[in-house]
Assembly symmetry: C2
Homo-oligomer: 108 residues x 2
Amino acid sequence: MSRAATTSDVFNAVAEPRRREILTVLVGCERSVGELVELLGLEQPSVSKHLRVLREVELVAARREGKQMFYRTNAEAIKPLHEWTTFFQRYWSHQLKRVKARAEANED
Amino acid sequence: MSRAATTSDVFNAVAEPRRREILTVLVGCERSVGELVELLGLEQPSVSKHLRVLREVELVAARREGKQMFYRTNAEAIKPLHEWTTFFQRYWSHQLKRVKARAEANED
DNA sequence: TAGACATATTCCCATAAAGGAATATATATT
DNA sequence: AATATATATTCCTTTATGGGAATATGTCTA
């Protein structure tokens, strides 16, 4: 089997650096595809393809205005990712003591 | 060109569900490869390969004890992911008003 | 209706992926 | 040294990927 499809879940969609860049640009700020092409310095088809992936997992939403399509980041969709990482939060840095205690508790 | 290698950055390494599962199991709780094989119901080579990927991006650390290798999650390495998602936090749900204001401010 | 413009899709290519099977390596035990 | 045990690696196959080039679709304007 090959890698899971980028369109199958948010983790996969976000694994691609360009797409992360797009999400960063589009958060709280709608942009047309053309604007993105300029901002990112990518080919237009490339941008459209990334947007498609992002749209399929609902990381962005689109709106048509005449000939143009305006995209914006749907921050909500990033929440699952955030929550997943938050689970690990208590295990890093400024809580070394707790981490240790927990680790020892788990090692039966 | 294809996607960036899973071994090149944390986002990619974490895109694979089994690897996320491994990280969850190994946080605050050291386990041998054999234990992981049992817990996850995967083939041993498969587990070893996933662990290799995780080790290359330092998401896990390893320790040898006799014939066995014990792995544990290095939560620190998840921080970048957490920070990236945190950037979007202010844009979701319970702060709709702020989001709107921000969006309007950005649309010159 | 025929462009012109903005965006989306398709086709092709080289590369990377994950699982399975087989095999290699490392360590302990006899 | 020979064997058993635990883990790692390699080879193979199928599938997904992302970029580039070309083309298709959709929408506006003359």
